[in-house]
Symmetry: C2
Subunit: 350 residues, 2 copies
């Protein structure tokens, strides 16, 4: 039985604009090789920093490019984690939780559907749009509340790798926009919109913090990988970003639809909210079944508990629709559903 991954938050190979990136990589070196192939600023390839700074209406020095946006999170956490507790959503992306744990940071989980009541700390980490792991989008009033907290002094780190990967509906303003950039770090990446192997992430930071983070970055690796950054820049300059994003969104929309359809057919007893974009769907199992004990044959998923700093998520799990094509998603959900059925029978018999 061919294994099917509903675990990997990874784009399928069909999503990658291979031929175009090959040309962009070549062009990046031919047009600006002396810069691309030498050491450069710790904050990354100057032309891409400028491009991004214009998109966000900030100075180029406020943009720090990193080898993937997770590394940006690590640098910010290194700089700030000792100054107070870090507020995180519960559930949230598991890798930042691991980084915070390895730094010995104090972590305060805030349930996703609750207002943040703590007004101080090192920073608040949020993924407001198509969140990893839940796929949910924070409504406007909650975004405004976060922007207000930022203005009142709590630094907000807004991680937004999925925001542009929208299948339908209208984008809400970012917390960064609502706060006028004040005391908000906006983090994003080209992993979902171009290709993750390039490892091009970025952060837009308040000027003083940007300088500090750039210096931590330079201490860690002198200069990030410029070839990837210059390749992304060539891709943007050639006007390939928008049409590629449209293509990727169409591919992912079909996959999401396949997953929703399969869940409706095979597992209507479970609960989920249909995400309007991103990679993930959060599933609540019927009958409080413990997700970590499910052992479906030929399909993988990530148990909900992985995304909580403390207790929580025992009966939930994350399904990714990004990697497999629609037919495999349908089959994967079918396999998963039979494992759930079997577990339900067992639990009723016990």
């Amino acid at each position: 039985m061919e294994p099917i991954s509903l675990a990997r938050g990874v784009p399928g190979p069909e999503c990658l604009p291979l031929a175009e990136l090959a040309d962009c990589a070549r062009a990046a070196i031919l047009s600006d090789g002396e810069t691309v192939l030498s050491y450069g600023p710790g904050g990354g390839y100057p032309l891409l920093r400028e491009w991004i700074s214009e998109c966000h209406g900030v100075e180029p020095e406020q943009v720090v490019l990193t080898n993937g946006s997770l590394q940006g999170f690590q640098f910010v956490a290194e700089v700030l984690a000792s100054t107070g507790p870090v507020l995180v959503e519960a559930p949230t992306y598991d890798r930042p939780l691991k980084i915070l744990a390895s730094l010995g940071a104090e972590v305060i989980p805030v349930p996703l559907d609750e207002e943040v009541t703590v007004g101080s700390g090192a920073f608040l980490y949020t993924i407001p749009t198509f969140q990893n792991p839940t796929g949910r989008t924070l409504p406007l009033d909650r975004r405004k509340r976060l922007a207000k907290l930022a203005k009142e002094g709590l630094l907000v780190l807004e991680d937004d790798p999925y925001g542009l990967v929208r299948f339908e509906g209208k984008a809400l303003p970012t917390v960064f926009e609502l706060a006028g950039g004040e005391n908000v770090v906006y983090s994003s990446s080209f992993s979902k919109t171009i290709a993750p192997g390039l490892r091009v992430g970025y952060m837009v930071l308040p000027a003083a913090l940007a300088a500090e983070v750039e210096s931590v970055a330079a201490s860690a690796y002198i200069t990030p990988a410029l070839l990837s950054q210059a390749t992304v820049y060539a891709f943007l300059r050639r006007g390939k970003f928008a049409p590629n994003l449209e293509r990727v969104c169409a591919l992912l929309r079909d996959r999401r639809d396949a997953m929703i359809g399969a869940l409706e057919r095979h597992l209507p007893e479970a609960k989920w909210i249909v995400p309007e974009g991103g990679y993930f769907l959060w599933l609540e199992l019927p009958g409080d079944l413990p997700a970590a004990e499910l052992r479906p044959e030929g399909v993988t998923f990530v148990p909900g508990t992985d995304f909580f700093a403390a207790a929580g998520g025992e009966s939930s799990l994350r399904l990714a629709f990004s990697y497999e094509p629609p037919a495999a998603i349908e089959e994967g959900v079918r396999r998963f559903a039979s494992a759930v059925r079997a577990a339900m029978l067992l639990s009723r018999a016990a």
Copy 2:
């Protein structure tokens, strides 16, 4: 006055194989794009790991590719620095000293021309060939002594980015080779042999430590920048490495010769040892002049004190011959020498 940099440990633009790398980057994506553009192992691009593992006679899992070799140092230091003091050469490369300081590690400096007498600690950090900053090469008996220490239980981190950049003379065996790989981490990079902006460094580690370091790397950035690594692999596979290295060594040899000639002409009172390769030359000033107080016009250098964890190097400095072409090196040394002359007159008058 056009400023001349004898400070930067950076190859001049003439050293970079621009056109060839442009083709290699394109070919890397076209031939293996689905791997290169997606997430992959924390230890880096599999085909390059295999290639390097064959060069060093180890298993591919023992090779960890990082975004530049400094990052490898950081990961090893993170894993080991809490287990005991770190022994470093005095002087040594300044960036690792900064990383150790930021980790709060205890550092024991061992003067370059002295035997290591401490037999235990977290690890010993050495750059045995064309050392940064001194350009000196550790003689065979001292290498054997380090290999013996490794076998007796002191982990040796042998950093060797310059070893292949040899202008004349015969290469000595590495500490890694002398110890049969036992308890030695061998670290190198393609920054000096291909191009630094690619940020492709690597480490060859004992198996258990390799697994630990790969896991730390994955926690930090999931996957290193694969496009650069695949580009390096294409460059190697096409047989471009050896001829490019020969070309680079010839360029650098001319620059070293220009520096030595200029020193002989303009500053014969100073002391230096002619390095047989690498990027750097270590200069001891006459009359115990403090290097940090020199302010030569239109030329930069790095004062010796930057390379000592504790006191030392006050009257020494590092000159890099890697970046500027021979005529600029001649002029830079001339400018530098006049500042030294002026300082000597002043100090005699005082």
